[in-house]
């Protein structure tokens, strides 16, 4: 995220200002007109903009009227300058935006997709509603060739719904640094592709899912979440931290009823700022796996086998065994190993057990492995 700082001055202590829809507003050097307008809730429409990426200027929906300019200018790429006079929502602009939305709608097979496709998947549909642009005008060829041959289990590549905003290509390069996908051909025949048009798994793709989450039309979709699209119930999200490595990415876990149906990256997560990797994005369904332990187990003396037990029985069984060890070998004979995968409370309680219960320091965690 960039530049939401305090307005800057021109070096002589005078605040930089421009005029936005007739109102004088302050801005920071380097801010774009779009960013200034966003701060003032102008709700300028756009389809190719992702605040994490370099402005691209492709969709042209964010055009504004700039005094002195012959044509409207794209606000996302135009830096604010002192004294600029900008109008963000004139009748002419709204007509142009509506026509642009009608044009975009005309190149896609679907204008409405299931929200399980991804974080940004409703952006186009919302703008079509806002501009009442489902008119069917400009009918013609559809652009983009879908890739049903790509058998990867994570990323749906349904380019018949692609509008060539290149957010996927740009997020892959600028945010992820993987450069796995690019744009091939020109004009109406542009197509998102890997090297030599192959499958994602044969490319530099790491399946981080960032392309899915920035796609505004559902041309790219989260196949794991989509597999759950018919799970009954409203989708709720719960903010938590990814369970894998030590980077600590913030995620929003999507649930319906008692089932995890998908994961969304948290764009405001302090460690990841919207980024995730293949594990954080897709490796969540161990949680509800049938192999999960659902009851305590204790080892039967006679058979030597583990068998399910109630909590009461298992806790007493364990406490009895531990008390016997203390009796036979002393309190220093018990050792505790805490987990680097469980929360603080687990590790804290384990060391408390050893220290407050046994009075020893025979406690460690798994970091030496």
């Amino acid at each position: 995220m960039k530049r939401n700082g305090t307005p800057s001055t021109n070096g002589k202590g005078v605040q930089l200002t421009m005029t936005l829809d007739g109102e004088k507003v302050a801005f920071t050097r380097g801010e774009t007109v779009y960013e200034v307008a966003e701060r003032h809730q102008k709700e300028i429409p756009t389809l190719c903009y992702d605040p994490r990426l370099e402005p691209f200027g492709g969709c042209r929906l964010c055009i504004v009227e700039l005094e002195g300019a012959r044509n409207p200018v794209a606000s996302c790429t135009m830096k604010a300058e002192p004294g600029m006079r900008v109008r963000t929502r004139t009748a002419a602009l709204e007509v142009q935006r509506r026509i642009l939305m009608e044009m975009v709608a005309s190149e896609n097979r679907d204008t409405d997709v299931d929200p399980m496709h991804g974080y940004a998947s409703q952006e186009m549909a919302e703008l079509l509603d806002r501009y009442d642009a489902r008119t069917g005008r400009f009918e013609g060829a559809l652009s983009g060739e879908s890739r049903p041959d790509d058998d990867n289990p994570f990323i749906k590549r349904d380019y018949e719904n692609c509008i060539s905003c290149y957010r996927c290509v740009r997020v892959c390069a600028e945010q992820e640094g993987d450069y796995a996908i690019s744009v091939m051909n020109r004009g109406f025949h542009t197509q998102i592709t890997t090297e030599f048009g192959g499958l994602l798994k044969d490319s530099a793709c790491t399946f981080c899912g960032q392309c899915i989450q920035t796609c505004p039309t559902g041309a790219l979709g989260d196949l794991k979440a989509l597999a759950n699209k018919d799970v009954p119930g409203e989708t709720e999200t719960t903010r938590t931290i990814c369970p894998y490595c030590g980077v600590g990415c913030t995620v929003d876990v999507m649930t319906r009823g008692e089932k995890i149906v998908g994961v969304l990256p948290a764009m405001d997560g302090p460690a990841n700022e919207g980024a995730l990797c293949v594990k954080g994005q897709f490796a969540f369904d161990f949680v509800g796996h049938p192999d999960r332990l659902a009851t305590p187990f204790i080892r039967e003396e006679k058979s030597g086998q583990l068998r399910p037990a109630s909590w009461d029985e298992a806790l007493d069984f364990a406490a009895g065994k531990l008390r016997k060890v203390v009796k036979d070998h002393g309190r220093r004979a018990i050792y505790g190993i805490a987990s680097g995968r469980a929360p603080h409370e687990a590790a804290y309680m384990m060391q408390r057990f050893i220290r407050a219960g046994l009075g020893t320091n025979h406690i460690d965690n798994c970091s030496r492995a």
């Binding site: 490595c245 305590p296 407050a356 970091s367």
Partner: protein, 541 residues
């Protein structure tokens, strides 16, 4: 990490050593890639041509376990060329002069004999790092999982101290922690030498503080490490409580571990799956998993963040803290009547100076990086800005030591181990998540094509990997990612339990196992009769 993750796109020169970050910490690696796109330079020291090496300006393919020699030679070049930050050395360190004298003998040519890197590349790397305004070092267990792990880290500190690359934006000595809460486990006091908040158990004042808090006096002596405890199973240690660790698979020398755990009178395991370790336990308690548990974790940049439950746990699974506190109650102990994770965490905050300014509600948005000593403290994204905790930074006069086991005619190849991007640890989680196997469904041993030819192996065929601790069969993959004479496998797949082979010693200070350098023999074999066959090697010679 001394510096925040947000600093990772700010250095001029990045020095990554022993860290396969694009696979093990992919999201952190994206920040480095952004720094490179902005024009930063990168040095990567790693025996293998890992992903980072592909995009580096200098790749130093050092022989496994030779890091100290390389780092001494880099210090030598920096000193020789006068690239030190003398003001920093004068103001904030001690023994700088001794150190410059010490490294005068360790030329790149000397190091090249040991670490097998081109002396010109060592020179180039040293000039890059030494010449940086903002030089940042990143490392992971490729540095620490050696008998000289502490020496390796201290060598890196020496480089940072001599160039003043600490306590500023885009600098630092930054370990990347491998597990979501490995930092937090230490913060919370699950260490034999420290109470919560890294308060040493040997300090009487600390003992007194916890005596008061817990109502019981704790030994003033440091506890034993896990490694020692495993060695003493059945001989001093007779019971273990293991929470969420698949010790049998992740620890070195599996046969030794198995023997150790089986010789206990009582093994209690708390886990979410029936792991190999759980299978040998006397009692197994079912824990709630991620997304079923409210709690707190601390990431690699010391950021304290909240975990939240989104779904109910299966059956009767319970939070780990609940299980341990209830077990304590059954032991007849008082003071374990906790009813919520919040209560547990707030007690921790009350006892840890690093968390003194925090509580459950304050960390709701994950804004704080410890230390947060008081309520009005904003947290500490960057350590050492004002000074070092213990006064001055001390240069350490280190010398290179060979690994405990070195190559021989019988065991002429190095085995080194690690992770791969799609799978995590022993696959207890990723192996049960749909689709991940599409990306990586089996383990292969990465072998340089020349070694394949020399040893009569076949790309895609099978090989036997052995040493005195054991042997296993594994499919071979030809790749120049491995240097000649070194092979690589991950420990993710149970049918390729590479940790039957590892275990050649421990760091004398931390007792961290030398998992990264292990001499082995390698020969072709036919395809397996059944998957997962594991021979048992004779122990000793």
């Amino acid at each position: 990490m001394s510096n925040p993750l947000a600093d990772m796109d700010k250095p001029d020169v990045i020095f990554c050593i022993g860290t396969n970050m694009t696979e093990c910490h992919p999201v952190a690696a994206t920040r480095l890639k952004r720094a490179l796109a902005r024009g930063a330079k990168m040095i990567v020291a790693d025996p293998r041509r890992i992903g980072l090496a592909e995009i580096a300006d200098v790749h130093l393919p050092l022989r496994v376990g030779s890091d100290v020699s390389l780092l001494l030679a880099m210090a030598h070049v920096i000193a020789r060329e006068g690239l030190m930050d003398q003001a920093f050395i004068d103001a904030r360190t001690t023994q700088g002069e001794d150190f410059m004298e010490h490294v005068a003998q360790y030329t790149p040519e000397w190091a090249a004999e040991i670490c097998e890197c081109d002396p010109a590349d060592i020179e180039k790397a040293a000039l890059l790092y030494g010449g940086a305004d903002r030089g940042a070092i990143y490392y992971t267990v490729g540095i620490t999982e050696h008998i000289c792990g502490v020496d390796n880290v201290q060598s890196l500190c020496n480089l940072a101290l001599m160039t003043g690359n600490l306590g500023r934006e885009g600098t630092g000595v930054n370990p990347m922690r491998g597990q979501n809460n490995i930092q937090g486990a230490g913060d919370a006091g699950a260490l034999p030498n420290n109470y919560p908040g890294f308060q040493a158990v040997t300090v009487p004042a600390h003992q007194e503080k916890f005596h008061e808090a817990y109502g019981r006096k704790v030994d003033l002596a440091t506890g034993m490490t896990k490694v020692t405890a495993l060695d003493l199973c059945g001989d001093g240690i007779h019971a273990m409580i293991i929470n969420g660790e698949n010790t049998l698979v992740t620890d070195p020398d599996r046969h030794h571990c198995e023997h150790a755990l089986k010789s206990l009178d009582c093994l209690v395991v708390i886990d979410i799956f029936m792991t190999d370790t759980a299978k040998v336990a006397d009692v197994v308690f079912p824990a709630t998993a991620w997304a079923e548990t409210d709690g707190v974790c601390t990431n690699t940049e010391r950021r304290v963040q909240r975990l939240r439950a989104a779904v109910p746990p299966p059956g009767e699974a319970k939070p780990d803290w609940w299980i341990v506190s209830r077990l304590a109650q059954r032991m007849g102990w008082k003071g374990f009547e906790f009813e919520s994770a919040k209560e547990v965490f707030n007690e921790l905050c009350s006892l840890s100076p690093l968390y003194a300014g925090l509580d459950w509600d304050r960390i709701d948005r994950g804004e704080y990086q410890w230390p947060v000593p008081t309520r009005d403290h904003p947290g500490t994204p960057r350590l050492h800005e004002e000074g070092f905790e213990n006064g001055r930074g001390i240069f350490k006069m280190l010398e290179y030591r060979d690994p405990e086991e070195t190559l021989s005619d019988e065991y002429p190849m190095w085995l080194t181990t690690g992770r791969r991007l799609p799978q995590y640890h022993t696959r207890t989680q990723t192996g049960r998540s749909g689709g991940i196997d599409y990306l990586l469904s089996e383990e292969t041993l990465e072998v340089h094509p020349d070694d394949i030819a020399r040893l009569g192996l076949v790309d895609g065929g099978w090989a036997e990997l052995s040493n005195p601790r054991g042997c296993l069969h594994v499919k071979v993959r030809a790749t120049a990612k491995s240097p000649k004479g070194t092979v690589f496998a991950s420990f993710a797949f149970e049918d390729v339990p590479v940790n039957v082979l590892t275990g050649g010693g421990y760091d004398p200070v931390t007792q961290t196992a030398a998992l990264k350098a292990c001499p082995v023999a390698l020969k072709p074999v036919g395809p397996p009769l059944a998957l997962g066959q594991v021979g048992v090697g004779a122990r000793g010679f």
